[in-house]
Symmetry: D2
Subunit: 264 residues, 4 copies
């Protein structure tokens, strides 16, 4: 390419995204995003959101539209889930992030969410990228599980080129031959993105490792490598979760992790 | 899963898909799909289509909506491309296949195409899968370049579960550490699919290898391994192609390949 | 590199290796190598060798030194195994191939084997390569399971540079994210090697797939793609084999495969 | 396996290896190993070793036997290199580590080195593992670039089973589709090893990333994830290095990294 990419460090030193009028992502603070994989129950989520807020979490996550490998798995609560997520966020005083998987749902999701997430399987759903590029709301773009760093930045470029510069990137592990972990967290991608681009970068150790005992060490590693934040799955009864419970931290484990991060 | 998957061999021995009321895919004939990566020029495509028909090609391919890694690359001629593709197919007496990348375009593409293609990057675009599951038209589902065979069959399951059983699968190479080839053609996936499922399977050696000198050997290997057909990119001036010219065969190379396949 | 590699096609069109004074590898014949993963029992191997000879197998394989992932697995019968292998080969009138894993064993193995095999795990054991480069005996060099085609040719280059040009290459599958098969057979590597080098290339579908139902289709694909031969594991009681029985063909399955290859 | 592996956490909580009678690896101290890829020049190495000692490095590294992809690349200074390495270590008061690639060289290397390194390409050179299992000297076992965590621990098991429990493991990156970095540093492997085994684990960010600007962030990440130490390539004139200069830190960059690690 002859011109300088919009995502490039040559455009600007760094981007700070302000969420919901107050929380900055990409500056000096290590942003902590936490919550369940999927929105499941109203009262439970409100209670969990308050607990997360109290321990220092900045943003509440929860999926309402779940892209699942099998058509027979739980697909999410859809609009009802969005409503519950928003309610829980408001009750706890936390902005919320949720995934959008269908162009036709963007308008609806915008009514409820402070940050839109584009998931790993949709990183090269270019039509979706173009559409979220037209809105005025922060977007978290997860790395495709088999996308190169270059392809990831070019996917972000689709969003910026369409007009939306409020993009943060999220490393969530890539697919390799190693099967002890669910994916392989590409720790080098964190400083590589900081070196190549002005966009903030978040680490997701939950999807990367798929093992709760590895979540905290990898989260700390991501921050040590320069990540602007982490996104962690938390659930009070992991064994009963409708989605990905096996990789969720208990709230008390999340609290320990936050304390360790603050000590740094 | 407790129930038998719809894609499973336990449901039926084999599926034969009849395209455009006459050509059967999945039976005794080796189906040959060929054409340029992208629709580019009307007269040229009509002429090429007639040439391909004369040498024994069964189905004409050509992209009108091109999912491209960078937003600054040629994105396809869109509806104009669909119109040209249909015209070329009719002029040559060939059914046509083209990719759909956006749920909102399905209805439009149905006006022009005999087979809809879901591309590698959209293999887990589950919303798109659900929608092509509602139509009455054959669908070619390319394997995601980092999808396991199990995930690929589950993606097909989304289409069948929504009501459309006219699904054929297309192996087009997976992403590995090897960089001599563009992707690594997973030859074992061909007999694995035939062993696990009743759906027809097609091999695409062009995207797999990314090198014209490897296309014919890999095409012959795919057929020897049990593939029901092959899909090959052909262009008369590969060096001038707007998309993937580097991996295209010349028409005369395509003819040689067809003759070799017929000798078997 | 400024000079032309010894393995390069620029050196010569093709190499034909004559084994044991009569069988040519690399010419018009498709060489068939077959036998058990490991030498286990004298009488059984002699009987199997005769059966293989009768069905058209050209070379008998059998491991005496087995590189095993765990130190607690069967490590091979060592010299006793070499002796049995040679005896079985002589009884059946078949030349024999076996793996050497230790520089110190080369001299011993040379007393018994017609072809020396360097295994996948030793493809970049450069000291071993240098030593087998000093002998006057054909060497089969398996591709490392994570070696690029370039690295594989450079490993062969070590042997040729040391003076031994009787090298044949063996594709046996590479390690990828796909876990349905044991490895991913890189079918494109067959024509790539034929395009880049004058050395003969053999396909090993047993280690590549790890599944008996996929061995024959992949063997036929390898030959269709241009392989000079195949190497297949055969065992009469796969379930009792001390090594890799799960991927072995029964003798009758091997016979069917040979008949199918001859029909081509 | 029915019995508990010798490398398993069930055998003991943690192993501390004492190098050269004083430096402990695996306890509270973060061990820093540094030096050039290959021993090249006597005076230069002595001078560099003293500089490294002064900035807090604990162990000097330097290769005398270099396993190289091509037979035409610099293969190391062999015994002369061992002599220089030992001299430099003594002059600076640093124990030294160097790689052994050939069983026949073990005895010689033992005369000069305080720690023997088994490199990535030899991780499954089981004959070499058995032999270094018979000596009474610490061994650093690098992970094969395509080895699973399980295979890596089983390779270590070969050494322990032969009698040598002074084994430390070294994560140096695995081979994936990502080509921005030389390899992909598997950060999760660090806490995974600490969870599964009592053996110390070291991180090598130089070979993993292949890019000097990523070495310090990945080194800090490794330590944050629980690594017992790091091993880093340092060279004063990277552009003149005979081996892997492109990934070497300058001494002043190494000093900055050590200061940052000490602040933690």
């Amino acid at each position: 390419m002859s011109t300088v990419m919009l995502t490039s460090k040559e455009q600007k030193q760094s981007t700070v995204i302000t969420v919901h009028n107050n929380h900055p992502i990409g500056g000096d603070i290590t942003t902590v995003i936490a919550g369940p994989c999927a929105v499941e129950d109203r009262d439970e989520l409100i209670s969990l959101a308050k607990q997360l807020k109290a321990m220092g979490v900045h943003i509440l996550r929860g999926g309402a539209y779940k892209p699942r490998t099998s058509p027979y798995e739980f697909q999410g609560m859809r609009e009802e889930g969005l409503l519950i997520l928003q309610e829980a966020g408001r009750a706890a005083g936390l902005p919320v992030i949720t995934e959008v998987t269908d162009i036709r749902d963007i308008e609806l999701v915008l009514k409820y969410a402070d940050i839109l997430q584009v998931g790993s399987r949709n990183m090269q759903n270019f039509e979706l990228l173009k559409e979220v590029g037209k809105i005025n709301r922060p977007v978290l773009l997860k790395r495709g599980f088999a996308a190169t760093i270059e392809e990831w930045l070019l996917a972000a470029e689709y969003i910026l080129a369409a007009g939306n510069w409020q993009v943060m990137l999220c490393e969530r592990g890539i697919r390799t031959f190693e099967k002890y972990t669910r994916n392989t967290f590409d720790i080098s991608a964190i400083p590589a993105i900081k070196y190549l681009s002005h966009l903030p970068v978040i680490g997701d150790p939950s999807h990367a490792t798929g093992r709760p005992e590895l979540v905290a060490p990898v989260a700390k590693a991501a921050v040590a490598a320069g990540a602007d934040g982490i996104m962690v799955e938390v659930h009070r009864q992991p064994e009963d979760a409708l989605c990905d419970g096996f990789q969720s931290l208990l709230p008390e484990q999340m609290q320990t992790l936050i304390v360790q991060l603050q000590k740094r």
